[in-house]
Symmetry: C2
Subunit: 122 residues, 2 copies
């Protein structure tokens, strides 16, 4: 059985922050069946809510893809601890993928953004 | 005269964090003449160092492109205040571009990363 993809954003009480991540997630959510976005803290749905909902629907395996450019304390300590606790509580497997910023595709996209800005005279 | 591009990353005392951002910046630094990476805090070169170095070389205008997925307190308050102070101190103009994550290109790159991960069975 394939893993349910969960895009994990940091979260914030600022709605504009969450809107930016919802826009960032949108092409993936449209392309990958049954994928979800979740927040680490300060916004909903939380990772725990999304895992719990999936577990109730019979999903046994999840892949968490962090919408973070790099791994800091959150991804090295906090999120692995959250995930270990959720695996036990919901009796599921949760794989933590590398942060998106570790994929060379992101560096190429950043170059495209800067080139766009230069040619638009911005 | 065109603006010198400065890619601004958050910074960290963790070298792995900075290495990830140097990798992310690398295609842009290779493609855009005279562009630089700088850190907001906790790593070098600092934004102030990069602006000071440019000003000494006769650059009058800079465009700071934040390597952030979304704008939080740092980009709404701290960085604009830093920039206002540097403009005065170094007698230059510094434009703050939107964070890269507000460009739709990034959402497409994220989709590509997730699709890669799915097809590689990861």
């Amino acid at each position: 059985m394939s893993s349910r993809i969960i895009l994990l954003a940091h979260g914030s009480s600022d709605k504009r922050w969450c809107e930016t991540f919802e826009n960032l997630a949108s092409p993936t959510l449209a392309a990958v069946a049954d994928s979800r976005i979740a927040y680490m803290e300060l916004a909903e749905p939380s990772l725990d809510q999304v895992v719990a909902e999936g577990a109730q629907a019979g999903i046994e395996s999840f892949t968490v893809v962090p919408l973070f450019l790099a791994a800091g304390r959150h991804l090295r300590k906090d999120v692995p601890a959250m995930i270990a606790s959720m695996e036990q509580q919901h009796q599921v497997r949760i794989e933590l993928a590398p942060p998106i910023g570790e994929n060379p595709q992101l560096g190429l996209a950043i170059k495209d953004v800067v080139m766009q800005q230069l040619t638009s005279g911005g």
